[in-house]
């Protein structure tokens, strides 16, 4: 354990910062949901956001791909940079940004289309394939990465809504990786799944880490401990503590973090 910790430590210092957020404030109309959050998310690593309900972790996640833009009353202040580029710069096209920063939602939301079309949706929109053969290849690769290829390869043209909940969620992950994103945001991806499906998705997240920077919001502290290398604890809109997962769970600095992970608050 200690070795792993050390190893992660050295890795994180070596690797460059993928996402850097400075002084982020988010308001819903007059309510401040996020208060002055600074966070640095490293590449090729799983970062978990934990905290009680309504603490702002999902809101912050949705700032990273500007999904909050679709909510009229939501206002974001501060500075979020991906690879040093300010994503709230007026020159940045939020649509293009979302292709680079994929997102997986709390409830599996396959489109009412075939499994194939679900995965091919993003590549088609962004023109990633020149012909049908290439598209087939992209779809297969994405489904393999989503660890669902073997289950669906014989029924690619069956509706995606006909899969089980866990399969649907892996299909959604495959759909998200099909557009070749650099960052994958996951908003409580397992909260609607049973323990077996959860285990499959967690295993998948661990594999995805090799190619992407993954940010996962979760309610389950065990899940955060299992899948993430870095953990951020949010409370009442504040980022209370951010550090290596092992440290947060074994030796938290802030008393609130300790109370939360030991079950006294939240």
């Amino acid at each position: 354990m200690e070795d792993m910790y050390q190893m992660d430590r050295t890795m994180s210092t070596e690797q460059d910062i993928k996402i850097r957020a400075n002084g982020v404030q988010v308001y819903y109309a007059d309510n401040q949901a996020i208060k002055d959050v600074d966070v640095e998310i490293q590449d090729k690593m799983v970062t978990a956001f934990i905290g009680p309900s309504g603490c702002g972790k999902s809101t912050f996640l949705r700032c990273i791909n500007r999904m909050n833009d679709t909510i009229d009353i939501c206002r974001v202040e501060g500075d979020i940079r991906i690879d040093g580029e300010d994503i709230y710069d007026p020159r940045v096209d939020p649509v293009q940004l979302r292709a680079k920063v994929g997102m997986v939602f709390q409830k599996p939301n396959p489109f009412p289309k075939s499994i194939y079309d679900n995965v091919a949706y993003g590549p088609k929109i962004h023109g990633l394939a020149r012909n049908k053969a290439e598209l087939d290849e992209i779809v297969e690769k994405a489904l393999r990465r989503g660890a669902i290829w073997d289950e669906v390869k014989d029924r690619l043209h069956a509706p995606g809504t006909g899969l089980s909940g866990g399969q649907q969620q892996r299909l959604c992950i495959a759909r998200a990786v099909a557009t070749e994103p650099e960052v994958l945001l996951m908003d409580e991806p397992c909260s609607a799944l049973d323990p077996i499906a959860t285990a499959q998705v967690e295993e998948l997240i661990d594999e995805l880490r090799q190619n992407y920077s993954v940010v996962i919001v979760t309610h389950s502290m065990q899940q955060a401990a299992r899948v993430s290398q870095r953990t951020a604890f949010f409370h009442l809109g504040n980022l209370v503590e951010f550090g290596d997962t092992d440290k947060i769970f074994t030796n938290p600095e802030d008393p609130r973090t300790e109370s939360y992970i030991s079950g006294r608050i939240g």
Partner: protein
Amino acid sequence: MSNVMLVLIVLGLGVIGFVLGRGRAMSAAGGDRRNLHSLPMYYGANVGLNAVVPAMLVLFAWLIVQPMVINSSVSGMIPEAEIAEGSNLSLMMSDVRRVAEGLDLAVGQGAMTEAETRSAGEDLDGLRDNLAGVGVALGSDITDSTFAAAQRYRVLAGTGHLWKTIATITASLIGLAVAYRMTSTTFRARNVVERGILMVLIAAASIAILTTLGIVLSLIFNTVEFFRLYAASDFFFSLSWNPSFSGRGGGSELGILPLLWGTLYISFIALLVAVPIGLFAAIYLSEYASKPVRAFAKPLLELLAGIPTIVYGLFALLTVGPLLVSVFGRDGALGVDWMQGGTAVMTAGLVMGIMLIPFVSSLSDDIINAVPQAMRDGSLGLGATHSETVRQVILPAALPGIVGAILLAASRAIGETMIVVLGAGAAARLSMNPFDAMTTVTAKIVSQLTGDSDFASPEALVAFALGITLFVITLGLNVFALFIVRKYREQYE
């Protein structure tokens, strides 16, 4: 005693029953409602309902059965030989009824005494004048047997009326007494009243269903009658619609195809207008419009649905028709001479399309709104633009529902009458030119029934055959639409 009076008496007994039942329950409980199984009002309602409902059923059944019994008893008195040429038993019976009613009226107004009515058979002409004096005009002369039948009718009706009153009030009293005796602290009045309410709801639902059934049956009987006079194959396959007017008789060509063609052509143009405009309006309202705009624009759009169709018809006749002529007519802007007059398929179709916009837009708007937000998030999260999301995710997801909305609009278009009467003309013809005047099934139903043709002639009865054909078509469309809408509903559950 009139029926209204009888109903009022029964209702009065019901109110008395309510008070009595409530009082008995309270006294049985020693004045403490906590000792009762149900609230005191339930005991009252139980007694009241028992006093009213069975009595009303008796009255209702009596009103249906009595005329049938009297009719069959009296009609035997009219000899076959007396049924005049061109008449039949039911016409004679209506004469009998009119004489009987006239006699009642004359007695009621004091123009005749009861004794005079009995002796009136000796002076039938004088009787006729007497009846005319109280406002009952008779078409044919009163014969002896008609008079005798009328007298018998009066006697039977009078007896029946008396027994009806007695039976109704007895039923009411028995119901009241039985329910009153049942009232005790342990009687579950609440559950009984609950069942009673269920019965009321079922009755309301069955009235709607039975009415539909009745309409269909009346259509079917008259249609069968029509097909006895006119060959069904000619009706369904003849290419011309050319009714001769009654009196000259025969020689009518009553083919439905030209009318059906006109109906479908006009509906098609109407949908061509309504579907794109309505759908785009729905997409704008549900996906792009801000809340204040939506709150303002949606009711405005739905206001279109509130305009009476006759007003649309006037709009077609006075505004759209002349406008189209000035473009497509002989001396029009295009100089093409396609359009002879203001009334045309295009005129009616355009205006009907405007009328249908709110149907399509309002239903589609609801359906698009019902597509889960997760679908939009999923698509936007993949880097799709708003319109890509609408086109590729939301519309396909909402498509079955939208198709349902369009089919409902289509069945509305097929059944539309006033706009066609005023906007499309009255000539039944098979033509491809949308600037020709044509007519529809509904418009012809109106003109066939509002003329002065004999009701028993095929020229009038054809209206029922047209009606039922139309009914079958729109019913089919509605069933299909419901089927599709239902299928759509299952998708997200």
